[in-house]
């Protein structure tokens, strides 16, 4: 009654639930069963549904089901002007709303040849790095929670709150910010921006050390992540993984470094890499990325220029006929936006290339053969934000 046999899944002539590819086991004694993780589950962090085929505690196959939070943002984009579209891009990956804004703005700037004043570029860069920091802090807290260490969640939020306060003062919003505009940003930073950033720069190195000691150097953490969910570089490339998932496997690709946008080429920072591509490497890459973000912020804070924050503000932007593409490195990986314009004030077609969709698809490769508990850890190290997958 509790362990359904395969015969009960005889839907439409299939012997397995939708999406499963491995044949039923020949062994009569094998007791496989299917468990729904999500759409309501504490560890999917959103409405992701993962159907897991289990043999006892061991994961045999994982099939993610999408679409629970599909809002047809790409279709809605066709009926809105480019400036109106910026607020829709907030709703993709709500933890990297600024990067999403930036990506769309850069495509428009590229189409119209709009330049950005120096102060505008510095604001963009600093805000994006602050965002990376807050996104990774949240990831770190949630990682601990998924492993059963509830306390990390609150510590991660303590510093994230400082950064969110900066955002709130900047534009009135903490998550869906709608801040950047083609040619710069909607408003200039307030006077309190710099003191707040400097305070953050002062406390963060110590805080990161503390967090490393609390979770990342814990023997249980090491046992739970080392050698678990190994993603080979070839697999990572063939699935189109980006961000820390790709760099954890040892492939050095960071849009900020290898296809520099904004003013990233004027800054000195490293791209942290993993060796084996296991869960631990993905975690360490993110931890080191936070330090690199601090490095960038420090350099930017030292030479933050004055002047205007935006150039050529317009009510509507008419993109010439053609197609335009831009890409940025969000905290989760490569976000690309592809715009096809028919010369009007609205895009003819707008397509986002979201990092989470590609990163989610390696889940089956990583989790098969591990225990249920590891499936949760692996999902956490992929750092998925579900609204970005469905759009």
């Amino acid at each position: 009654m509790i362990t359904e046999s395969f015969s009960e899944y005889n839907l439409d002539g299939n012997t397995l639930p939708e999406g499963f590819r491995l044949p039923p086991p020949d062994d009569e004694e094998a007791e496989e069963f299917f468990v729904n993780i999500g759409p309501q589950h504490p560890s999917t962090h959103g409405v992701l549904r993962v159907v897991v085929r289990l043999n006892g505690e061991t994961v045999v196959e994982v099939v993610p089901h999408l679409g629970y939070i599909h809002r047809s943002i790409e279709k809605m984009a066709e009926n809105q002007t480019y400036v109106q579209n910026i607020h829709l891009s907030d709703r993709l990956d709500y933890l990297s709303a600024f990067s999403n804004n930036l990506c769309l703005c850069m495509a428009v700037e590229q189409a119209l040849g709009i330049g950005v004043p120096e102060r505008g570029e510095y604001i963009r860069l600093m805000i994006c790095e602050l965002q990376r920091l807050q996104s990774h802090l949240l990831w770190w807290g949630v990682l601990g929670m998924d492993m059963g260490a509830f306390t990390t969640f609150f510590y991660g939020f303590r510093e994230r709150e400082l950064i969110n306060d900066i955002f709130e003062e900047l534009c009135g919003a903490r998550l869906t910010v709608n801040y950047f505009r083609p040619g710069g940003s909607s408003i200039d930073v307030p006077d309190t921006f710099m003191p707040r950033v400097k305070h953050l720069l002062k406390i963060m190195p110590k805080v990161l050390d503390e967090y490393s000691n609390l979770l990342n150097k814990n023997i249980i953490f090491l046992e739970r992540t080392k050698g678990i969910g190994i993603l080979s570089p070839e697999k990572a490339l063939s699935y189109g993984c980006t961000g820390a998932v790709l760099r954890g496997s040892g492939i050095s690709y960071d849009v900020r470094k290898h296809d520099p946008y904004s003013i990233y080429d004027q800054f000195d920072f490293d791209v942290p890499l993993g060796n084996t591509g296991d869960s631990y490497d993905r975690c360490q890459v993110r931890m080191e990325e936070m330090e690199q973000s601090l490095r960038i912020l420090k350099q930017a804070a030292a030479r933050f220029p004055g002047g205007p924050h935006r150039s050529q503000p317009q009510q509507n932007y008419k993109l010439p006929k053609g197609s335009y593409y831009s890409q940025v490195e969000t905290p989760r990986g490569l976000l690309g936006v592809y715009i096809v314009s028919d010369g009007g004030i609205k895009p003819y077609r707008l397509k986002y290339r979201s990092p989470n969709f590609s990163n989610l698809n390696v889940l089956n490769e990583l989790a098969a053969g591990h225990k249920v508990a590891d499936l949760i850890t692996i999902m956490s190290t992929l750092d998925l934000v579900i609204p970005d997958i469905d759009r």
Binding site: I2, L214, L215
Partner: protein, 364 residues
């Protein structure tokens, strides 16, 4: 007065004396027993509230929060509010659940705690019963609490619950062995299996407690007992049966209202019981922590034994809470590895070495 009954029911405190002075002997023994059981019930009831409040406050301060602050001063009445809420919530039984077992299971962990508390020596004459094989009795009845979890997982007709119950079953079979071996060590040192006898064997200064008296091995045994009892209690880092981030609550997924509250109460009172056992076995029970200083010791002796006992037990409870709010959770196979490849051989070696120490007369 029959000496044997005095040995078994050592309620020789002043309340017992008053009862004995009023009633004739057979009736007095019965009344004393009933009074002792009633006080145990009161203890279990009040402990639940105290421990839940304590856990909420301790976890809050570990996590940069205040915890409950609204109900009563500093949220002191929060457990009461929680209890009332739990009582008035609807109990939902999932379709296909085994009704009898589903409602029986939540009662078992609390019963286990109640049964073990009956043999705990809180003070010289504050113990409901002192059977000669007290340690064996404790081992026997403490298994009930995990039986409750096992039954709950089976009866819920839910895959998450079943997974949690199976994990818990594996855990029970494994860690009980280490616990038994470490208890055996204490029995061997004390020369008695009666809990009161074990405490009396540790009389003297702080260095006569088993944790310090046995050079190095005592501390090692104490730490191993703490680990094994944390696993037995299903608490983080060994809370794999509940594992809310994996199994959404494990065995307790389908429970609500008062039946969930009973599990909750059972978990907390069992934590206190485990702390009581640690105190009894390693920390000298109700003895004051005398340091051998002529000025300080008489002062320490002025404090009644049961206060020392509770102070030690709550210190251990705090340790359990500290573990819970610091460590991540281990995986089920790592838990088995820890027991069968590390804890079991280590406790066997420890037992042999201590046997050598006792045989050579190096202990005390």
């Amino acid at each position: 007065m029959m000496p044997s009954s005095v040995e078994l029911y050592p309620v020789n405190n002043f309340i017992g004396d008053i009862v004995r002075s009023i009633f004739p002997q057979p009736a007095a023994a019965v009344i004393n027993g009933l009074l002792a059981l009633l006080s145990l019930m009161a203890l279990v009831g009040s402990l639940g509230a105290v421990l839940i409040f304590l856990e909420r406050k301790v976890s809050a301060h570990f996590q940069l929060r205040f915890g409950p602050m609204r109900v009563g001063p500093h949220g002191l009445l929060q457990p009461l509010a929680d209890g009332i809420k739990a009582i008035f919530k609807e109990i939902i039984k999932p379709a296909g659940a085994d009704t009898f077992i589903f409602f029986l299971a939540p009662l078992l962990p609390v019963s286990a705690a109640f049964l073990v508390l009956a043999v705990i020596p809180f003070d010289h004459h504050l113990q409901v019963a002192d059977p000669a094989g007290g340690v064996l009795y404790v081992l026997g009845v403490s298994g009930l609490s995990i039986l409750g979890i096992l039954l709950a997982g089976w009866a819920s007709n839910n895959k998450y619950s079943l997974l949690g119950a199976m994990r818990s079953g594996a855990q029970m079979v494994s860690f009980e062995i280490s616990i038994a071996l470490l208890m055996l060590l204490v029995v061997m040192l004390s020369g008695t299996a009666s809990l009161r006898g074990i405490v009396l064997a540790q009389e003297g200064t702080i260095f006569d407690w088993w944790i310090f008296k046995l050079p190095f091995l005592g501390i090692l045994a104490f730490i191993m007992y703490l680990v094994a009892s944390t696993a037995e209690l299903n608490r983080t880092p060994f809370d794999i049966a509940e594992a809310e981030s994996e199994l959404t609550g494990g065995f307790a997924t389908e429970y609500s209202g008062i039946s969930f509250a009973m599990f909750f109460l059972g978990e907390f009172v069992n934590m206190f019981v485990a702390a009581c056992l640690v105190t009894t076995f390693f920390l000298g029970g109700f003895h004051a922590p005398l340091l051998g200083l002529p000025l300080l010791d008489p002062l320490l002796k002025l404090i009644p034994g049961f206060l020392w006992f509770f102070a030690k037990a709550f210190l251990i409870v705090f340790l359990y809470m500290w573990f819970r709010w610091t460590f991540p959770r281990v995986r089920v196979d790592q838990l088995m590895y820890l027991e069968w490849r590390i804890m079991l051989p280590a406790s066997l070696i420890l037992l042999m070495l201590s046997g050598l120490f006792v045989a050579q007369g190096w202990v005390g």
